[in-house]
Each structure stands twice: as C-alpha cells, then as structure tokens.
Subunit: 424 residues, 2 copies
C-alpha cells in the first residue's frame, strides 16, 4: 500500500498554530488555549478497503460529479485533541450532529483538482501546490482549524494512487478530486467552528463535452451580485455558490446557459464590470492593429477567484512569443496578456469594431470553454446579444491552443515548468 512515510515536517500543533504550516494563522490559537495538539499527519493514515469494488462506468456514461470512487479519506479536528489520524475507508455517508456549523453557518471550504494518467500509465496532478495554498487561505478566511496543507497533498496523492483504476485512460478525461473541509461544531451559537471534518472524495470524469467543444451562451446579470470587495469571492468557499442558483435559473429561462456576473460600479454599460462566467474565470481575445492579439481577463481585485486554469492561461500567454512559442499553434501571432478591468461597454465596443475575436471561460472541470453569445439588457432597450464568430471545432484559435497545451501538460505528454506532478 502506498502510504506516505513519516512526516519530515513533524506532526504537532503548538498553541493552535501548526508550527510547520508556513503562514498558518496565528489567530487560530484561540481554538486551543495553549494546548499542544496533534497536527494533520499523513504518516498516521489507516486504510480500510472496501469489501467489494464498484464497477466503473464507461467514460461516455459519466455525468460530471455523479459517480464516486470506492473509497474516501476523512480526518477530524477536535479542540482538545487536534487532528485525528487520517482514515481511508469505503465511500459512504457522513454522520453529523444537526446543529453542526456546516449546516447552520456554512464555514465550508473545497478545492477542485484532477488526476490524469501519463503516457507511462502513472497518475499525475496539475500544479497541486496552488490548490493547497488557496485552501490554506480559504480555511483561514472562515476561521476553520488550520492544518499543514503539505500533509493534505500527501493524502491526496495516496488517494489517487489507491483509486488509480478509476482514472480514465482516455485523453481529455480525468479523475476529479474534491478535498473538502467543513465546520462540525455541534452548537448553535454564532461563532467560529472549533471542530472540523476534512475529507477527500473522487469522481471519474468523461470528456466535458461529449460531442466536442460547443460554445456556450452567457447572460450578463448585475442585479444579483456574486461577489463584492471585502466579501469572499476571492476564496474557494462553498458559500459563494448557492446564491448563484436562482440567477442561473433565470438565465436559463431566458435561453442562456450560464450567468456572466457583472459588478455595477457606475451608470450605463461603462459602469458594469465583467467578473466571472458561471463558476469560471472569463477571458476575451481582441485583435490589435499591429497584427497581434490582446487576451484580457479581469484582475484579482477580491471579487475574482484566483483560478489555477486562469493562472496557467496567463502564464502560457506571457511566455509566448513568435520566437519561442509556448502555444505552437499560434507561433506566428504575438499575444499580449492583460489582467485588467473589462466592462460590458468594452465588450460591446470590441464587438462593434469587429475586434472581439473570442470569449471563453476557464476552470478546472472544463479547462476552456468558448462563448458564442453574450446577452445583456440595456436600460429601456430590452435584451440584446453580442454574437461571437463561430469556429470550426467549437474553439477559437486562442481557446484551442490553450486547451490543447494545458491538457497535454496535465496528461504528462509535454513538460512545462514542472506543472505536472507525479503521485509517487
């Protein structure tokens, strides 16, 4: 059994701060009242295997997030004992007190990651240290008990190795990984949860688009607001998502697949900042007079999730030059990446000028998905559409180049900056 060796980092929480977890929140000490508590320690894991294993559905039959693997990993935090030894056990229900914080006040954090098989048939993760760092920040933002995310990463690698038979051996498919931490304080007083449950579940994914990439439609929405300055939009918290369900239904009723979240800062279309698309980061490609292209995504101002795919796209775009193309399919095209404010007025102007070449959403599950149509309402003028040109195969050239490049790095078919990480 592939169990990580004893932690080089030690395994104690002193004064409530995991002395090893770089940057762990010293304020978390008020959980612990000076007690020396156990830290999360991958080397203490125990494994109870399922008596019988599930049949694995054909990748074509998989619906995202509906099928879970045979096992899950759990560890609990108790304010008097610290983190329990992690436990791998058959996938099954959690048992929780009805008064638990996770139901009542929602201090719930998750990450979305994927495991891939490389050409040697070995499992790989993609830039997992970025997920770990984001999870550390998210845990701190909702005042959950901290833990050493390096230990969590060892546990994730263990689970991926254990569930290797579930990783689809098909390009564009993957095993989706959902590390989750929830508050389990069994009391109704409104305060930070001093109990927690950390768990890892895994779900095999077929190709996101069964019949190849198809552009999606977006409806610009600003009366419902996803995130705001000083809020939690820049963290990966469960509570950022439920408020989007009702606006998403409204968009669907009007014939759009996802919401384009706008943030109203002023009057008119100029006052509507573009933030995210559904649960994805948003990019546009705009042609320049010099033959190059501007690729623009909104800046991380606190209302934008710092997505891994967003960061990977920006890195690849910035590394690209015709002399040294990080995106070989666009070898002859100078690309200029920008993190800058994008208003609905900008989108309309680029479109009217014939310069809006592409729009796409990016995220872990989908990687890259092109946008074909963006609806918006202008005061007193009803619903209008920005229509983007259609591209053969669904993706425009920039979306396609990014998608291909990222997927081949994720699957270990090409090396890039150490982004693809082996599990053993």
């Amino acid at each position: 059994m592939a169990v990580a060796g004893p932690s080089a980092n030690g395994n104690r929480v002193v004064n409530g701060v995991n002395g090893i977890a770089k940057g762990a929140d010293p304020e978390a000490t008020n959980f612990f009242n000076g007690e020396v508590l156990a830290g999360l320690n991958a080397s203490k894991v125990t494994i109870t295997k399922a008596k019988s294993l599930k049949p694995i559905p054909a990748v074509e039959d998989l619906v995202f997030g509906n099928t879970m693997t045979d096992h899950m990993l759990v560890a609990t935090f108790h304010p008097e004992h610290g983190w329990s030894a992690p436990e791998v056990k058959p996938y099954g229900p959690l048992e929780l007190d009805p008064a638990s914080s996770c139901f009542q006040y929602c201090p719930n954090v998750f990450e979305g990651m994927k495991a891939y098989l490389d050409p040697q048939g070995e499992p790989r993760l993609f830039r997992p240290e970025l997920n770990m760092e984001r999870m550390r920040r998210s845990v701190e933002r909702v005042a959950l008990p901290p833990f050493d995310t390096a230990e969590l990463l060892k546990l994730i690698k263990l689970m991926v190795t254990l569930e290797k038979r579930w990783i689809p051996a098909k390009q564009g498919c993957a095993l989706y990984i959902r590390p989750t931490v929830i508050g389990t304080r069994p009391a109704l007083g409104v305060s930070a949860s001093d109990h927690a449950l950390l768990y890892i579940i895994l779900s095999p994914m077929g190709p996101y688009f069964r019949t190849g990439p198809k552009p999606i439609s977006l409806l610009g929405v600003h009366d419902a607001v996803r995130a705001w300055p000083g809020g939690t939009g820049g963290y990966k918290l469960g509570l950022n998502y439920a408020p989007g369900f009702q606006p998403q239904r409204e968009a669907a009723k009007k014939g759009y697949m996802q919401v384009l979240w706008l943030f109203k800062e002023g009057n008119g279309l100029e006052g509507l900042k573009v933030t995210e698309a559904g649960a994805m980061n948003f990019f546009v490609v705009v042609s320049r007079d010099d033959g190059g292209m501007d690729v623009i995504t909104p800046p991380l101002d606190g209302t934008i999730l710092p997505g891994l795919t967003r960061d990977s796209c920006l890195s690849l775009l910035r590394a690209h030059s015709p002399a040294s193309p990080s995106l070989p399919a666009l070898a002859s095209t100078p690309l200029h990446a920008h993190e800058r404010t994008l208003t609905l007025a900008d989108l309309v102007r680029y479109s009217n000028e014939g310069r809006l070449l592409e729009a796409f959403g990016v995220g872990t599950a989908v990687v890259v998905v092109s946008v074909g149509r963006i609806g918006y309402e202008e005061q007193g003028q009803g619903l209008r559409d920005i229509t983007l040109r259609e591209h053969e195969g669904g993706h425009g050239p920039v979306a396609k180049a990014l998608w291909e490049r990222i997927v081949e790095v994720q699957e270990g078919r090409q090396e890039w900056e150490g982004w693809s990480v082996k599990c053993v």
Copy 2:
C-alpha cells in the same frame, strides 16, 4: 399525542409548485418535470419517542445552543417522490452523502424562533408567521424545493408541544427552535439542489445575560463586508454567517465583543453606512430638541436582515404615544421611529452633541442588548471610541422598555396585536 389533523390545504405538489403555498416559486417546477409529487404534510407525521429522556440542566447552567432536547423532526424531499412524511425521532446525527450540496455549495436556510410558557403553563410562539414567510423567501433565494410553510408551522407547534417539559418555566428564558432546510443533492455539479432535508431541533435557553443585561462593545468594520445590494444579506441563509467569523476574531483581539458592520459608500465617516451589529439589527436613540426621542434603525435595503425583533420594536415604537403608551415606562416621552440611513458620521455627531442616548442590538436570541462603546478607525488617527452613557441595570430607558414589553408579550403575560400564538 398532539398531531395536527389532516391538512385543510391538501398535500400535493403539482408541477413542482406546492399549489397551496401562497407565493411558492413557480420556477421550482424545473425540479419536477411535470410530475405530481407529495407536498409537505403535517398530518402524515409519524412519531418515534426516545426510549429514555435526558435530564434537563438547570437554566443557570445552559449555554446558548449547546443543549438539545430529546427529539427532532425530519422530512426529506426527493425529486421523484416529493416530500416524505415528517418523522419525529430521537435527536441524533444526520447521515448525508459527502458530495451533498449542503457541504459543497451551501444552499442552507434556517430560522430562529422561541417558545415560552404562558401564565397558564401552556406553550406560546411569537409571531411565527413572520418566520415562516421569511423562510419561504430564503428557500426561494437559494432555489431549494418549496414547501407549504403553514404545514411547517404545524410541525413546529407539534414539536414544541412534544418537548414542552424543556421550556424553562422562568421569565426571560425560552425554548429556542431552529427549523433548518439544507440541500442534499448527492452530486458535485454546480447547480440547484433537487434534494433537501428539512429538520427542526430545539434547545433550551437560560437568561441570555446571567448577571443581568450588560452593555456590549462594538468595533466598526468596513474592510470586511457582511452583505451587499444584490447579495443575500436580506435573507436568513447560513452562508451569511461564516464570513463574519474572522472579522469577529479580529474585533475580539482589539477588545470589542462584536462587529458593527459598516458599508462604505463614499469617503470619510459620512461614507460609512451602519448596517448590522454582529448577527443583530441595530438601533440608536437620539434626543430631540422638542423633548422627544428619535429611534433610528437602517432601512431594509437588501443588506439588512428583516428581523422579527426589529419589526416588533418598530411596531411598538410607532404605536406609542403619551396618550396611548404602548411602552408604559416611557408614557411621558414622545418617540419617533425611523427606518433611515445611519452613517458613522451621524453616530459621531450625535455623540459629540450629547444627543446619543442609547444604542442597542436586537435579535431573537438576545431580544435587546445595549451597546456601551463603539470603536472606529479614522484615517490616520488610530482607533477611537464612541462611549455611551451607563444606565443602572444595563439597559437605557428605551432598550429596557422594549425588552420588557416584548418579553411580556412573548410570555403571554400581556396581549399585543395577536403576536403571541398558542401551540394547541
């Protein structure tokens, strides 16, 4: 056993809309695909009593929300079957799939209510129809399956009657009731939960302040923002609370008990709107030149929870006149209630002018709690305090009059506008 009779309202959900629940969201139909499903029906309740009953702690030993009664009530919504028959059973853990929406995306709704014993020793609720209407709106806001809240109220009355021995027979004490609805869709796709679990748990409360009312301190905070126009601050959602835990810790580190949530709309203290205090609505009392008092609370602009206690305070204040005093202790004082924007600059000015007579927070758990000190930071001038005058007994005259009046109505010692409702 006090079980409500067959529902006069019927018990079917047609096309996903509970045809009876006035105002139920017709858009919830997409859960049901035209199926005829069972609605929540109090008359179908089954009761399994606990084999042994717990000892009831002395009221002085109760910590808010830590002790639960012997039983809980649960009902589940399944997209193919609708609402299950409600089930009363011994209090115990919930069993839920780790992928459930409640952990991952937080479509979780709750209400806070209290049951009291009247002078005849019979249980009473306080304006429960307002909790039901707010819960209906909250459920709709996070796209949970709708239900007839009149049926829920019957179930709440049943539970209170069943757990009557837990209602403390002491003035100022009560049995706290926590109806909760959580999304239980067992899948990771980001969309509305088409499964739900509704439950009711109950917790006996001692006096909120063991040694009499003591004023609390508040720290004005605007870098972390509780609620935003277009957000969910006007709904009773679990997800509104976790983002406040970390700012609350920061305030505690600086020596303040709760956060006074400010909303920055412009520069300086004039640009900082006062919204809520901790998890309470906020009021100030300001003296007028004509001998009366202005009692001011921020308006329901979407960032403010429409609290029952807030509404009850406003109603009592508006009904008050020296000729017909709804607050007899203030018989000779003209009171002018206002729902209007209150800035930090207003608070400072009222204080400097010697007109800031009282500040207090109101909410279901605490009813009314006075504020003794409000800290704020002014650019470049460090932390300052607005200090409120001390009153014998902890409460100022308006806070005291409101607290006494509301509690005596809640406990059925005085009648007012039908606010106190019997359970049988």
